[in-house]
Symmetry: C2
Subunit: 403 residues, 2 copies
């Protein structure tokens, strides 16, 4: 059997689990007799264009790689052109041929799957062309065609843990106050659901959970807030960065025009800062906003063991798909029906994922409904299960894999 080389790359935004998928790919490729060298491309498809490769054939430090957050190979945000006669395709083809790549695996989110789709179409029907396989990754959990995405469980664990701590922190004063916690998610509210878990599991806080899928009515919010603040001090609002008003516009976007920062540039605040101003103006109590920011996507120290194991398994499964001759397809995570929780990998057409979005289902919009709360917990908790063995010294400093 003629061995071919495998090329692996990472693309899009970071997560705590994306290197676990890389580790799964390396582990499986090392065991596959069809595969010769294992190459990592630096900065996604850009490393293919610049022929910047790392040889991972003998890389053995897989557990440490699994526990390293963000992309050990680096990432890119790069959209391939729609026109296959564009010279960029010839350059990619030449680079892959140079390196005798028979299997090209690309780990990423919605946009990265577009690259997998286009590249596999470009090669379609060409004898001896490399197999092009997509591997899922996004903390946003918004890839269509799957039950959930690697990276989401770890981000969810971090967010729930952080929300619990913020609830304790803000509870200390016997004063009315509002704390607005802004969470990532332009269109999908999956991460905000996770931050809402302390309440969805039966607690009192956060008092409000605002998803981008549900139109946000400022008047209604303020009315409910006025009522709530009489019942309970230290109000907490968990809000997705992408909530929209009743007209479908991002909340705060219409009032921002005309506000310039110190340098004369248009001041673009997040929704948290906007709501902070709104509450200060309309209610007048102590209010602060917190943007969880990048911390929620790279918190390896709070990663979910289940998430990393599944991410690893998706990587292994992708190598199997490539070796058995699939291309233009993607490995996804699904769950078996019933209890206890059990996931499995499946191969789906990458077109089903590329450029699409999977939102929080409408039947979950009523977060006050006990049946909905139960269903969300049943969905989310298994993905967050288990501590990750940490490669840290006694002072907490991590020993990351850096290629």
């Amino acid at each position: 059997m003629e061995k071919k080389n495998l090329l692996i790359a990472q693309s899009g935004g970071p997560s705590a689990a994306i290197n676990a998928t890389l580790a799964g790919v390396i582990a499986k490729a090392q065991q596959s007799p069809e595969i010769g060298r294992i190459l990592g491309s630096r900065h996604g498809i850009e490393g293919v264009l610049t022929e910047t490769y790392v040889d991972l054939t003998d890389f053995a430090d897989l557990e440490r790689l699994k526990a390293t957050p963000a992309m050990a190979l680096g990432s890119c945000r790069f959209k391939l052109p729609a026109d296959f006669t564009d010279p960029i395709y010839g350059r990619i083809e030449a680079s892959l041929a140079d390196m005798e790549v028979g299997y090209f695996l690309y780990i990423g989110g919605n946009d990265s799957m577009d690259t997998v789709d286009k590249l596999s179409e470009y090669y379609a029907g060409r004898p001896g062309a490399p197999a092009v396989i997509g591997l899922p990754k996004t903390i946003d959990n918004d890839l269509p065609g799957c039950d959930h995405t690697p990276g989401y469980g770890s981000a969810a664990r971090y967010l729930a843990m952080t929300m619990e701590e913020l609830i304790r922190d803000t509870a200390i004063y016997a004063l009315p106050s509002v704390t607005i916690v802004e969470i990532m998610g332009r269109n999908a509210g999956w991460l905000t659901l996770a931050a809402g878990l302390p309440r969805l599991r039966g607690g009192q806080k956060p008092d409000f959970i605002a998803l981008p899928e549900v139109p946000f009515d400022e008047k209604d919010f303020l009315a409910k807030l006025r009522t709530r603040i009489r019942e309970s001090q230290n109000i907490i609002v968990a809000v997705s960065e992408g909530i929209r008003d009743l007209n479908g516009d991002y909340v705060g976007s219409n009032t921002k025009s005309g506000v310039l920062d110190s340098f004369g540039h248009l001041y673009l605040s997040g929704v948290g800062k906007y709501l902070e101003g709104l509450v200060k103006h309309e209610i007048g109590c102590k209010v602060r906003s917190i943007e969880v920011n990048l911390m929620q996507r790279c918190a390896g120290h709070a990663a979910s063991q289940t998430d990393l194991e599944e991410a690893f398994a998706a990587g292994e499964f992708g190598v199997e798909m490539a070796v058995r001759g699939e291309s233009g397809r993607m490995a996804v995570l699904l769950r078996r029906e019933g209890e206890p929780y059990h996931f499995y990998c499946e191969s789906v057409d990458v077109k089903a994922c590329a450029n699409g979005e999977r939102l929080v289902p409408e039947r979950w919009f009523d977060l006050e409904d006990a049946a909905v709360q139960k269903e969300i917990c049943a969905y989310l908790l298994p993905l967050m299960k288990g501590d990750v063995p940490q490669f840290r010294d006694e002072y907490g400093f991590a020993d990351y894999v850096i290629f």
Copy 2:
């Protein structure tokens, strides 16, 4: 021997270690034959005024209390008047007499020690008056008269860990970018030093560490940033919220006037947002600012075992001080000279701590100096040592003590 009751209260801002001090007080008081009931006042001195007490005499769940962040008894921000004829003193005296309090211990930072100072002065020379003792707490590490404060080691551990993760997160793209990480500290740079540890221990990042103690020269910063961005992509700036310009004004404060938010209020951004605008305007590369915000002061999940043990010991020591008849004094943490690290508790006049501030020493201002880096690491690392046993379920949810 006539037993007297002990009253304990917490005041000021939260930390991950303040309940460990409370646990130490309870543990020692339970073993002290001089002490009858152990009472906790809700919301600091306010609970004394409203006679809102929790009976902690038989409280046994000390390890779980130690691992609970923020104030289990609640907090307050309350300054006693300077005039001892103010009726508030009579109310406090009546409340303490009602509860037969012989020992009053107050855990807090600089402002809270002012309460200890005034109350002990008010009682001075009065036979049978309660002993008033201060116990230290502040993530800011700025209490005079000590080596360090309980709460600082845990916040430092969280900040160093988070900075390491942000370094990985921001390193993924092969593009020039600047990330500004704003850390708490209006006057003292101790927390920012902790966030700078990945570099101070010999790494490359964060590229800049800006302390409030060192005047911040915008022109010089921009010049160095322009140079640095040519040598290294993904620049990270760790900056204290309270850095001041060469005139001693808070950086950005002079240019903020006139900028109104969407509601017509003066827009008060933090220094991170200000520097983000500055870099965007002057350099024009990708730039973002991150405010670590409340997360740095309540991150029990990343607490330092050393910090919690020392906080506990300070609580025990405070009870010993009270029982042996001290008043108007405070327990502080000091360190023995030489290696290995060893701390001890000492009693100091609370006047030495009340309302004062301990800043980063001038001999540490040159953070490029290898000897300075070594000295800072020798100071800081021992305080961050050791993981804390967590009271969490398999999904990461904490089982906190809530009175």
